[in-house]
């Protein structure tokens, strides 16, 4: 019961902030709502007992990537975005499509729920601290992906320099 209240609280918060991100005229305000949306998602992770994922979401998305976003937003002139048309004339068509898609998904889940193979969730109190679990799996079964991640980071570093160099 409590679990569900927590979930719906964070879910509603995330959806509302996401809508605000799209509809705000001021980009910086959009960024603030994006932070809220990301933090609400972190809350959902917490509700799922994924502590480590929760803090990674806070540190990397809310604390790291959003800083970059805010920088980029400040880097471009605000006046341009304030005077631009926010939505083009076909916005109602987009909304309609989104609603149809939403309805389709709802119906699909409602009808096909019986066919979905849902495993029984493990009782939360039996779980070990999730940092430990993540570590144990990451450094035994998934060593290769982990090492490849470092190469990905290396590529990203080079990419960052190349992009910034062109701009200077």
């Amino acid at each position: 019961m409590l679990d569900q209240i927590v979930f719906y609280f964070f879910a509603v918060l995330a959806v509302i902030s996401a809508v605000m991100v799209v509809t705000r005229r001021n980009v910086v305000q959009s960024a603030i709502f994006l932070i809220t949306a990301l933090l609400a998602t972190a809350g959902i992770f917490l509700q799922l007992h994924a502590e480590f994922l929760f803090i990674v979401q806070v540190i990397l998305y809310a604390g790291g990537i959003m800083v970059l976003f805010v920088f980029v937003i400040m880097l471009v002139s605000l006046d341009v975005s304030l005077n631009q048309v926010q939505f083009n004339r076909q916005w109602w068509l987009g909304l309609l499509l989104a609603l149809v898609l939403g309805a389709q998904l709802t119906i699909a889940v409602a009808v096909g729920r019986a066919g979905l193979p849902l495993g029984e969730p493990a009782p939360a109190k039996m779980l070990e601290p999730s940092t430990q679990l993540v570590g144990r799996v990451l450094f035994s079964e998934y060593v290769l992906p982990f090492e490849i991640a470092s190469i990905l980071l290396l590529v990203a570093m080079i990419g960052a320099v190349v992009m910034a160099k062109k701009k200077i």
């Binding site: 001021n26 910086v28 305000q29 603030i32 932070i35 502590e51 480590f52 929760f54 803090i55 806070v58 540190i59 809310a62 604390g63 959003m66 800083v67 805010v70 920088f71 400040m74 601290p129 999730s130 940092t131």
Partner: protein, 440 residues
Amino acid sequence: MHTLIEFAKPILVPLICAVVIVAVLPLVAGYIVLLERKLMADMQARLGPMRVGPHGLLQPIADAVKLLLKEDIIPEEADKAIFWVAPLISVTVAMLAMAALAIGPWFQIADLNIGLLFVMGIGALGIFGIVLGGWSSNSHYSLLGALRSAAQLVSYETAAGMAIVGGLLLAGTLSTREIIQTQDDYGVWFIFAAPVGFFIYAVASIAETNRAPFDLPEAESELVAGYMTEYSGFRWALYFLAEYTNMVVVASIATTLFLGGWLRPFAGTKAFDFLDYLPSLLMLVFAGYCFYRVPKQPVKIQQAVLAAVGLLLILLAGILAAPLLVPAGSLVADAKAGLHGAFWFLLKVGLYLYVFMWLRFTFPRYRFDQLMHLGWQFLVPLSIVNVMGIGLALVLHRQWGWGHLPAFGLTTVLTLAVAGWLAWAGEKKEKQRAIVGEEA
């Protein structure tokens, strides 16, 4: 009685702790400011605040009242909503970070599995309060201050995080409580196993709290007051509160991870048990000083206030001494862990903050490129090497059966050698730059 306490603990203790932290932190921040002003005055051969209360003891309260009555100005061009929210973000986030810290074995809001990571991650969100505040004011100084601050925070967070990883390798846990207990089990504070890690964290934490010599975001001589230029009245006070709360938070992290948290020095050694009397003795000495100064106060009311402070300190001494004087096993004797734990923790935090202030009064401000150089080209590589060094020491000790001293000694020397090389490379570059600059 015991069962009652056991029953109430899970609900009441966090509630009381949260209320105490939220209610007392503003006061503590005010008194840290007073202490800082007094210390600065002392090092500059002045007296500092002397007028409000004996020795300026009531100055923070007067300041708070004054700030509350100040006009609350919002610049015309400012983004009002963001201008309003930004300082609140800073304060809330800084206070929330306190939640996972264990100030003594009894005083903790929430013991989390990801404790230290939580403190760091939530604390890092404070950057938005600064950036949004600086951006929304629509002033050149504010924006520049905010940008500098963001770049600085971001640059030193990597080094601070890596330094913490070094400590975690030793502890093998992220829970603040367990980290301290591990140090108790080993009988050694982690500062002795990872001195370089502590050094990196100390430097990075000064930069992360925007303190001198890294106080570029609010460099008075260049940017007026940096990101807070347009803030006035209590909003400004909130930024100050956030800054001092952050100082307490980083000092607490350092205390927890490197300085043994709530542990008494030589906690495991029976021969040093006389140190248990130190807290009360210290309080008595302070009380004695208060009474010694009473007759020298010019006004009656000041004499009364100072005497009251003295009595309060004696009361504290009594409370701290009580668990030692009653026979073991009673409730009062059990209170020793909580009371003395909190005392030692706060004492260490206080000493750490004292060093912060000392550095502030000693060093001139860094230039921005020097700051970035120190962060990215000295601390970051050094912290990576430090982590690998501690890892190596642990492997040597656990798998190859080396003793603690040779394993950690060897890796510390290696890390120091890398530090020396990095410093030498930086120096060479600086010289080169100077020559190039002259030619230009």
